[in-house]
């Protein structure tokens, strides 16, 4: 009986690698080993990882390299040529398979130097070899790890056009994949457009399935956020290309439908006039809704595409709401157990819907989806945790719900506070965004957040090295301090300390300074007792405020400084005098003109804040007002206020009148 070949050529990974690496393995056996390897790893992630660990990729790449060198050295024909071509095809296919859907595989392939070898196969005379090379490269280009293709080099652009014009669908498809992967800047978009790429991509829309999908995806990349390029896509032949894409929204393949939507949305988002026809708008929503049902990759990607359609666009959010998108997304969340990616997309799309419209937030609450959101705050995937925070942030953008104390409970506060220690910075920032909203809570529940250790964490994060974390942490503290009771204020202040606050007031980032001043502004609001926070430790904090008043040139910071001082000046005589000393410290000093400078600011908010401080300093029933009025008159305030009688801002005009009225109660106001 003949023995089976398998007994000699075991399928064990180690043996396979051995055969690939051995110089004694006959060519036929090597080719067979390559085929075996390819068949074992196709679609099998575990097997891929096993072979990766055993160093299979460098072995395959060296076979490809050897076959390529022989090929270019010997040329010729006959069996030998046929055999070498088979080696090239099988090794290229195995390399592509390693790179498919596995970043570690892509990395190994790139490290082993396969990239340029595969590119050299594309111009091979044997179309099957060129095809195999193109397929492999396409798979590599699906990964973020693939090197960026430099379109701006002339020879690269020529080569790209050569690929794009190829009759081989895998080669032209590869060109489209290169564009999708590498076209990121406006300059690159314009260069591609000028080279005639759009016209060629549009013609590929009429090609095979592979060409169509690849073309839709690269068209989206080329027009994205670029109105100039988009107009070249929209314009010619009365929008013929556009109509082709619109038709493809009805294609029988879900992936084609998804990519057609993506391409249309990218075009739509470049201008306020494109694709505003209500028929198409509704159609986009409906097609994407239906694609959410796809169990595979298309269904995973659909919510992200939906999100790009509705984000920041209230009109589209309304259309989506009317098409019951909130209900549908919630149904999907209820169905449970998805890939992390799909869950992330569902939360993002739901978050987008709730960013502006109260009716969407109402529906989310009604459908009790908040439980899923809070559950997802503890998900294994950082992307899901971040998306859940974003969703919660947008749902809690409702004053009506905050007023009802809807969010400040342990189920929400505890996991949110835990996320402040998350290992991912973007999750921390997203959690801070949600916390900033949730702590606005108008019911007396703010103490719950403090009990959960929230203030301690926020204060810690206000000292972070990352400015995005610092600004958001102080923002959350500011919102927490808004209309909070004295007991909570004491707790917040004792955790914060004057020292931390002072360093925040002079933070390198102006946005952090602005939030820190607004925080102090809220701290000293409310009962008279609160003003004392800035007077502790010999008025350390008040001096720091005064110092910043004189040194900052940022209008947004100046506005908050003036409201802080104005709030302090609404206190008793002693408080007013202290503010007066900061605003007009001594005669002959440059600061003297600071008030005038602020009153002449081009920003009406700064003018308003400054006049409020003046109104509080000259409040009629306070005993020392008379002497302050004299000082202010000497500083030229009255004539300045009189000039503001016709201020373009109504609030400034009315406040100036009010201040003048008070100043005039004290003798001659002609100066």
């Amino acid at each position: 009986m003949p023995t089976s070949a398998a007994s000699n050529h075991s399928g064990r990974p180690e043996d396979l690698i051995g055969r690939l690496n051995s110089t004694h393995t006959p060519y036929e056996a090597k080719l067979k080993a390559l085929r075996d390897l390819k068949n074992q790893i196709i679609g099998n992630r575990t097997k891929k990882q096993v072979f990766l660990k055993l160093g299979a990729v460098p072995s395959v790449v060296s076979i490809l390299s050897a076959a390529s060198s022989e090929d270019s050295a010997q040329g010729g024909g006959g069996d030998n040529r046929e055999f070498r071509d088979s080696m090239l095809i099988q090794s290229a296919a195995a390399i592509g398979s390693f790179a498919c859907g596995l970043d570690a595989g892509v990395k190994a392939v790139l490290d082993a130097g396969a990239f340029s070898l595969l590119f050299s196969l594309i111009s091979h005379l044997n179309e099957k070899v060129a095809d195999a090379g193109a397929r492999s490269l396409k798979l590599i280009y699906q990964s973020k790890l693939a090197p960026k293709y430099d379109f701006l080099q002339e020879k690269n652009m020529e080569f790209l056009l050569y690929l794009l014009n190829s009759k081989n669908e895998n080669v032209s498809g590869l060109a489209a994949s290169i564009i999708t992967h590498s076209c990121q800047t406006t300059v690159e978009q314009l260069a591609l457009s000028e080279a005639g790429v759009i016209k060629r991509l549009v013609s590929l829309l009429g090609g095979s399935l592979i060409q169509r999908d690849a073309s839709l995806e690269s068209l989206a990349a080329v027009v994205k956020e670029n109105s100039e390029v988009a107009s070249k896509f929209m314009g010619p032949e009365n929008g013929r290309a556009l109509n082709v894409v619109i038709e493809l929204m009805k294609d029988k393949y879900p992936r084609t439908r998804l990519l057609a939507c993506m391409c249309l949305i990218c075009t739509r988002n470049t201008s306020s006039s494109y694709l505003r026809d209500s028929g198409i708008q509704n159609k986009l929503v409906l097609v994407l809704l239906e694609l959410l049902d796809d169990p595979g990759q298309v269904g995973d990607e659909a919510p992200f595409v939906l999100s790009s359609l509705i984000t920041e666009k209230e009109d589209m959010q309304k259309i989506a709401f009317d098409e019951n998108v909130v209900d549908k997304l919630c149904e999907h969340l209820r169905a449970g157990t998805f890939q992390a990616k799909r869950l992330q997309g569902l939360f993002l799309a739901l978050g987008d819907l709730c960013s502006k419209l109260e009716c969407c937030r109402d529906r989310v609450i009604e459908l009790q989806v908040l439980n899923f959101v809070t559950e997802a705050l503890a998900h294994d995937s950082a992307e899901v945790r971040g998306a859940a925070c974003t969703c919660l942030k947008n749902v809690s953008r409702s004053v009506k719900k905050l007023s009802a104390g809807q969010f400040m409970n342990e189920a929400v506060a505890v996991p949110l506070v835990q996320l402040l220690c998350d290992t991912s910075t973007s999750v921390q920032v997203a959690a801070l965004g949600a916390i900033s909203n949730v702590v606005v809570d108008f019911m007396p529940h703010k103490s719950l957040f403090i009990q959960c250790g929230g203030v301690k964490q926020l204060v810690q994060l206000s000292k972070s090295m990352e400015s995005a974390i610092r600004v958001n942490a102080v923002w959350a503290l500011k919102n927490l301090t808004f209309l909070v009771n004295n007991k909570c204020k004491d707790e917040i202040f004792s955790e914060l300390t004057s020292t931390t606050l002072i360093s925040l007031l002079s933070d390198p980032e102006a946005s952090v300074q602005e939030q820190a001043f607004a925080l102090i502004r809220n701290l000293v609001d409310g009962s008279l007792y609160s003003i004392e926070y800035v007077f502790g430790e010999d008025g350390l904090l008040l001096h720091a405020i005064g110092k910043q008043l004189r040194s900052t040139s940022q209008i947004d910071v100046q506005i908050q400084v003036m409201y802080t001082l104005s709030n302090v000046a609404s206190g008793n005589e002693c408080h007013k005098e202290a503010v007066m000393n900061q605003l007009l410290p001594q005669a002959g000093n440059d600061t003297e003109t600071l008030l005038i400078k602020f009153l002449q600011s081009t920003d009406s908010r700064l003018r308003t804040a400054t006049i409020w401080a003046l109104i509080n300093l000259t409040f009629p029933s306070s005993p020392g007002t008379s002497s302050r009025v004299t000082e202010l008159k000497n500083a030229g305030i009255i004539s300045q206020l009189k000039n503001m009688d016709n201020d373009p801002c109504l609030d400034v005009k009315l406040r100036a009148k009010m201040a003048l009225g008070q100043l005039m109660m004290f003798g001659d106001a002609s100066t």
Partner: protein, 214 residues
């Protein structure tokens, strides 16, 4: 106490401008955190009665003509505690909302009947009668007209024996922050007057807090 500024604006300042009007300018006295107190007259033929009322502004979105806050009624006869309600306001900016309510059981006649009770509305009357006030530019007018509609009870159940079925026609003075209003509910005594003044929490001056949603 703030000094009342004499209003010298004339109707010519507000009428006859182009459509597509500018929104009202922000007014610090009507910003979030601001508090007001006063009374609501609930007198009827049988009794003469006024409830003390406190109002706090919690949200303001001028782009959407939206304002909201709470209203606390202090000496309500049938309640043991002060009754707090949450209300939402429509700002008459002639873009998001006009003087005509078009809902809540109020006819155009009811609207005119109530708005004309505010002296500051009279200069606008003819234009409102002509086109509902659509061509008025109120962005520089020192009064802001609104409708406040209570949405829910914050601290008591719906079984408290009180109703929030009606709504308020409101006029806010940007000059001194005073608020006047008339409650409208076909089933309650007509023209219950709400009178509120800006309060300052025992301070000798005005204090402003703020929050920003992300």
């Amino acid at each position: 106490m703030p000094v009342r500024v004499v209003d010298n604006s004339s109707p010519s300042q507000v009428s006859g401008t182009t459509p597509g009007n500018a929104l009202p300018q922000p007014c610090t006295l009507l910003s979030v955190g601001q508090a007001f107190s006063g009374t609501q007259n609930v007198s009827s033929l049988q009794k003469d009665e006024a409830w003390r009322v406190n109002v706090k502004i919690q949200g303001c979105d001028l782009d959407h003509g939206y304002l909201c806050g709470t209203m606390e009624a202090l000496n309500v006869p049938m309640a043991d505690t002060p009754v707090v309600t949450f209300w939402e306001g429509e700002i008459v900016d002639t873009k998001n909302y006009t003087f005509f309510t078009g809902k809540w059981g109020a006819t155009e006649e009811d609207d005119i009947k109530h708005w004309t009770k505010f002296p500051s509305f009279l200069p606008l009357l003819s234009q409102v009668e002509a086109d509902g006030g659509k061509s008025l530019d109120l962005s520089n007018y020192p009064y802001i007209f609104m409708r406040w509609k209570e949405q829910y009870f914050v601290n008591v159940g719906t079984d408290c024996g009180l109703t929030i079925a009606g709504f308020y026609y409101v006029c806010f003075s940007c000059s001194d922050g005073s608020i006047n209003g008339f409650y409208y509910d076909p089933n309650s005594s007509p023209f219950q007057k709400l009178e509120l003044k800006s309060t300052n929490d025992g301070r000798l001056g005005f204090s402003f807090s703020s929050y920003e949603l992300q």
